[in-house]
Amino acid sequence: MEEFKYILIFGLLHSLTYLVFSLGFSLIFGVARLPNLSYGALYVFAGYATYIFLTQLGLDFSLAVIASTLLTATTSFAVGEFTIKPAMKFPVSVFITTMAVAYIFEEFFRIQMGLRPVTLPLYSGTTTVMGVPVSNHWLLVGLVSLLMVLALLLFLFKTSIGRAVRAVAESWEESMRLGINPLKVLRVTFLLSGVYAALTGILLTPLKALTPGSGWTPLFTAFAVVVMGGIGNVLGTVIASLIYGFTEQLVTYMLGGGIARVVPLVLIVLVLVFRPHGLFGRGE
């Protein structure tokens, strides 16, 4: 029973982090129909930016968070503007351009910061939830993630720009007929996805040490989750990340940590084989 509670709580918390990270990824994926492979690098970028602001410039923590979020959003915008948008004419090239950006960031941080893992201040202490001790930082991560998911849902479903984002994700041509400028919408998603990458990077860095190459695992997770749920489908992404998080925790408990990274991916491969457009995706 104790283990069951443990799996429930940590499965939920992990799922929330995957969900937030994947939603930022799926914004661009849904609108441009192209994967942004530099998304993981933005996560690392935000972590290092905060670290530099804190240690070398001596900024206040909240100030450092705001500054690095803004910086990451700007970077994400620039990356999208210069590597994703021009590549839309020839979709295969986006794999090269965004991957190249990711390697540029990785190599830059390897030269500047070295391979030694870096970490950010942790919100210390533990709280007992349903009889299970959970570190306060995990609770903070869960809370902020939940707020970010709700904010994104409100944005997508209640504001006019959000509706435009959904319209473009639905059909590029139809939305143009309705007077929406898809390129403007695309720019909005570049900025927003930068913000989401930055916040997850800052939140998760204290829990998982940051190295220049640590952006790839979250990227592949986001990729897998988004594809499993169906590209551009918010509800599908929510359910897919819940499946991913709970499976991972369950397998970790039953078989150990190493294999737990693999099983959710196998699950996703199986889902894709039987439902080629994801759980909730529709065929073109």
Binding site: T83, A87, F90, F95, A100, F223, G256, L272, P276
Partner: protein, 345 residues
Amino acid sequence: MSKLVFAKPSKIKKVRKLLPSLAVVAIYLALPIMGLSGFWIDVLTRVNIFLLITLSLDLYSGTTLYLNLGVPFTVGASAYAIALLNRYLGIPVEYAILPSAAISAVLSFAIFIPSLRVRGAYFSILSLLLPIILAGLVTSQPFSLYLGGEGGISYPPLFFSYARTLPARERLFFLSASYFYISAAVAIVAYVICYKVAYSDFGFMMRSIGQDELLAEASGIDTFRVKLVGFTASSFLSAVAGALYAAMRPPVTADVFIPANTLVPSLTAVILGGMGTVVGPAIANHLTLITYEVLWGVLGRWRIILYMCLLIVLVLLRPQGFVFYLYLRLKRAVSTKISRLFEGA
């Protein structure tokens, strides 16, 4: 009465057309004898092996436009097959190359059959997940005991049992030169086969799938079969690459499954070279990889950043690939020069 004679291209003309490329190949093969340093021979060996992966990617993904990001899976599976055959059955790597390539091709075939149903971008994503899964399996608990874990599996490399009898100074040269010639021979054979296949009827069937799969099916092409055969053939090529590389450079570690090591260089070459043209990617493969090594001497650690920036600019400037275009212009210039030379003589 004059008889109507159909002009058939004479053998001499055909040979004359091939002359420049034969000359280039001859010079390339003579490089180790002409006193190239051991480091560069090793680099060229690696580039030759990468040519196999590039060709395999071009043969399937370049023509059908199904981007197969699962190449590291095939390469890694054959590399691990060669190591495991050596470790558990005691088969020397010399004899294990072809069997392990075959094992890996069959494995890829079996795993990819279901994914051939999936169309477009989903296929790429699905194939991208497979090597990551395998890398996770190799390094995670129960399997890592048998598969070597992080440290990988080590074994005596190709021809080592013979090279051990040589004096120490000759040994190194013998090994690197023989590796170079083997890889070059395999690369040349693979290139000729790929060229023939890519411009054969079968190649055009694959191209038709890339243009419009439904239309291809409507015109009577069994698209599933064509994809399956094309995919297996291309997997076999990259499996040979994996087995050769593993045989020459032990130990085999989970690094082979990382896309940056085994996929990105070839993908770059295919896109810069011009997808589906075979000639373009082959030249681009040598060009990019050798440039990459040269940059190391000039820029040191900043080379990756500069190289990647260059790559972005090139890909965005000419997404359909620029090497093939340059090649055609060069070929025209050279062939007019040659024909003038022969006419003058």
